[in-house]
């Protein structure tokens, strides 16, 4: 048993002490719980979506998309560590996600540079014409 648990389960501990010890127990094993990583990945997704809606330059939107990639990778890695028997699969999958994110950033940035060369700006408000 964990050394803290022997102390927590004493019969003569008062109820406030028991609550405090339970909170300490959850806090101590924070990095061994699946929910923490899921909440962190959901936070990254939420921040990325907020950035995608509110940013007014193309590069800002690209950075927000990268944050969403990072959130998805963290989610996959959390499930890989906690619920899967063969723990190499998730790592290889996330490695490929990172490679694809890098390739996508390369292409997106070359498109952005070409757009800037033609329109002289990357503000999304001014990129509103379709004829060349």
């Amino acid at each position: 048993m964990h050394p803290f648990e022997a102390r927590f389960n004493r019969r003569d501990a008062k109820s406030a002490e028991k609550i405090l010890f339970a909170a300490c127990k959850i806090f101590m094993l924070l990095y061994d719980q699946l929910q923490v990583y899921l909440i962190a990945a959901a936070f990254l997704l939420a921040v990325g979506i907020y950035g995608l809606i509110r940013r007014r330059t193309l590069i800002g939107m690209l950075i927000s998309g990268e944050l969403i990639f990072a959130g998805a990778s963290l989610n996959l890695m959390a499930f890989n560590r906690f619920t899967v028997r063969d723990q190499g699969v998730g790592q290889i999958f996330v490695l490929f996600i990172m490679g694809l994110a890098a390739a996508e950033v390369a292409i997106a940035l070359s498109i952005i540079v070409a757009v800037y060369r033609n329109y002289r700006s990357v503000k999304t408000k001014e990129l509103s014409e379709l004829n060349g």
């Binding site: 962190a40 959901a42 800002g60 890695m77 890989n80 290889i92 890098a102 390369a106």
Partner: protein, 177 residues
């Protein structure tokens, strides 16, 4: 972890520090006006994420995250910021429009976050698997060259196509500029 007195507390403190770094970097990336600071926010978020990957028993992915995200992706975005505009344009929307769109963005993001958190925290997840050697670096290397060799070759093809495509798009305007 019984040798040093407060080992568990120190490890948990480092974990909370990694979480805070990741969250602060992400918020910094979307809330600032200057694009260079936004890229730095992404780099800080990637460093915090690398710490989290280390806690998820994957030091290989932690190093790959720093190498790929901070070393390649962020540097490429800095190159593009150097070639294009460095700042967000000044906000010339009416205050009503700002409130409406900011509210919609906050509602969408907050709703997604709350929904996913509720789903993740209350679901009945199975007990964590015992640690084995299946996630070690040697096992990853072997499986990349045997089980997943097709995917490995295909991603090298994808990277080649991406490089050639980026070169073609960027060179096409050079004659006309």
């Amino acid at each position: 972890m019984n040798s040093f007195p407060a080992t568990n507390l120190i490890v948990t403190a480092i974990f909370v520090l990694c979480l805070a770094t990741m969250a602060a970097g992400a918020l910094f990336a979307v809330l600032t006006n200057r694009l260079i600071r936004s890229v730095c926010g992404l780099a800080i978020c990637a460093i915090g994420l690398a710490g989290l990957y280390y806690f998820l028993h994957s030091p290989f992915l932690a190093l790959m995250e720093i190498l790929i995200y901070v070393g390649a992706v962020c540097v490429t975005i800095i190159f593009a910021v150097m070639l294009a505009e460095p700042d967000e344009p000044p906000n010339d929307e009416k205050p009503g429009t700002i409130v409406v769109w900011g509210g919609i963005a906050l509602a969408a993001a907050g709703g997604l976050f709350w929904g996913l958190t509720r789903l993740g925290a209350r679901a009945d997840w199975p007990a964590p698997e015992p640690l084995s050697q299946s996630g070690s670096l040697k096992a990853i290397g072997i499986s990349l060259l045997t089980t997943y060799s097709l995917a490995f070759e295909l991603i090298s093809l994808v990277l080649l196509v991406a490089i050639i495509g980026a070169l073609a798009i960027a060179r096409l305007g050079r004659g006309r500029a």
